[in-house]
């Protein structure tokens, strides 16, 4: 209940300040436009189109998801939060907020991408949706944890993608592979290993996050 209250506070704060929404929206528009301009009239392969889709998502996540903790640090409210709630409550509330933000952002990217890129045709939609959901959960968990680590650093902007890259790399590679399979129309059975990897990644990340966050938050 306290975590939900923190989520509501973050949502109300975001609606007023537009810290993350504006940077995410701008980044999505700019990145997709740059890809469109750079491709021009060239025909790109299905695999490249699926890979670029997750590249857009990765960099968009890097531009906005750190705000969950960075905005608290910049406003000086981190200590106030440390005073009024347990680390579990804080992480749960922030994670919930980032989950909503990631899903909203990635749904918009997916819709824009499928409207603008002819090569991006998903033949096995249910497989893509499973991968999309598990992938978004993984991105949200990893981004929230890394945001909490870099919030106190002086060079947050640089550190966030640098720290995120190795942690998100196995997730991104699996997602690119699954997207290609979904675009090829592969059945679920042939993708079970990749889906299991995604599920395990999410479970490991959530367990590690709750175990580590106490130390990150207090010191």
């Amino acid at each position: 209940m306290s975590a939900y209250a923190l989520f509501k506070k973050d949502l109300a704060s975001e609606m007023r300040t537009r810290y993350a929404i504006n940077s995410l929206a701008m980044f999505i528009v700019v990145t997709i436009s740059v890809i469109l301009f750079s491709i021009g009239n060239e025909k790109i392969s299905d695999f490249l189109s699926g890979g670029l889709f997750w590249v857009v998502i990765f960099f968009s996540a890097m531009s906005g998801l750190s705000r969950a903790f960075v905005s608290e640090e910049e406003r000086g409210t981190t200590l106030t939060l440390q005073l009024i709630a347990s680390p579990t409550t804080i992480f749960s509330g922030k994670l919930f907020f980032n989950l909503i933000l990631v899903f909203a952002m990635n749904i918009i990217i997916a819709l824009l991408y499928s409207a603008l890129f002819d090569a991006f045709i998903i033949k096995n939609l249910s497989l893509f949706i499973y991968a999309f959901i598990l992938g978004n959960i993984g991105i949200a968990i990893a981004s929230t944890l890394i945001a909490s680590i870099i919030a106190k650093a002086s060079s947050k902007g640089t550190l966030y993608p640098v720290l995120s890259f190795p942690i998100l790399l196995p997730l991104m590679l699996t997602l690119i592979d699954l997207t290609k399979q979904a675009m090829d129309g592969a059945p679920f059975q042939t993708s079970s290993v990749e889906l299991a990897i995604l599920g395990c990644y999410d479970v490991v990340m959530i367990a590690a996050s709750f175990m580590l966050f106490d130390f990150i938050w207090k010191d």
């Binding site: 306290s2 506070k9 000086g76 200590l79 005073l83 009024i84 347990s86 207090k218 010191d219």
Partner: protein
């Protein structure tokens, strides 16, 4: 008589290679006003953050007991009220919204009467729906007292309690400290003589140690 007890045993804090204080013991059980003083950089604020559970000590143990039973660290924030210059509130929300959000995150309820009483007491009633970003530093300090008192805490920590306040604000704070000390423990960290004059005992933090100076 307070039913809250605070015990800090052999507390040591090191930031990087810098020793802030070493093997500090501190305890309080009886309701009253306790003072902590010391020169700038002696670690008063750090010590307060450690005994409120905001940060961890490098070495040592802090125990909070209520009615003789240890308080779960996950629930500790419900018993504590804290006012300090480095505790910020949300500028994008109004004063009332800040108090509502913080209370909900704490998981505690309060009555509308108590909210209005505190806003009246600290002279912010007419501005309670204004955004905090429009507040002066003194008004923000007053709002921090409302934030600290709204959930009727058992122990209160005031770090530089009268900073940014005018004379009437200081008087209100001193009256609040005296009222709260009737039933609860109040700990003040300050170098102001007028703040420390309220305290029944003052502990001096210097040369990495805490010295009793009754």
């Amino acid at each position: 008589m307070s039913n809250f007890e605070l015990k800090a045993e052999t507390i040591t804090k090191v930031f990087g290679r810098r020793l802030i204080f070493k093997d500090v013991d501190f305890s309080c059980k009886e309701n009253g006003i306790y003072g902590i003083s010391g020169p700038n950089g002696s670690g008063k604020s750090t010590f307060l953050k450690i005994i409120t559970g905001i940060i961890s000590p490098t070495k040592g143990k802090v125990t909070h007991l209520f009615e003789g039973k240890p308080i779960d660290s996950e629930k500790l924030h419900n018993y504590i009220g804290f006012v300090a210059p480095y505790l910020a509130l949300y500028d994008e929300f109004s004063a009332v919204e800040n108090i509502h959000f913080f209370s909900k995150i704490r998981g505690l309820n309060f009555t509308q009467e108590k909210l209005e009483f505190l806003f009246h007491q600290f002279g912010l009633f007419d501005r309670k729906h204004d955004l905090v970003k429009g507040y002066s530093s003194g008004m923000k300090q007053r709002l921090k007292y409302i934030f600290a008192l709204i959930h009727s805490p058992k122990i209160l920590f005031f770090d530089e309690p009268t900073s940014n306040l005018d004379n009437s604000g200081k008087e209100k704070v001193y009256q609040t400290v005296r009222d709260e000390s009737q039933n609860n423990i109040v700990i003040i960290a300050s170098n102001e003589d007028s703040d420390l004059a309220l305290c029944s005992s003052v502990l001096e933090l210097q040369n990495f140690k805490l010295k009793t100076d009754n």
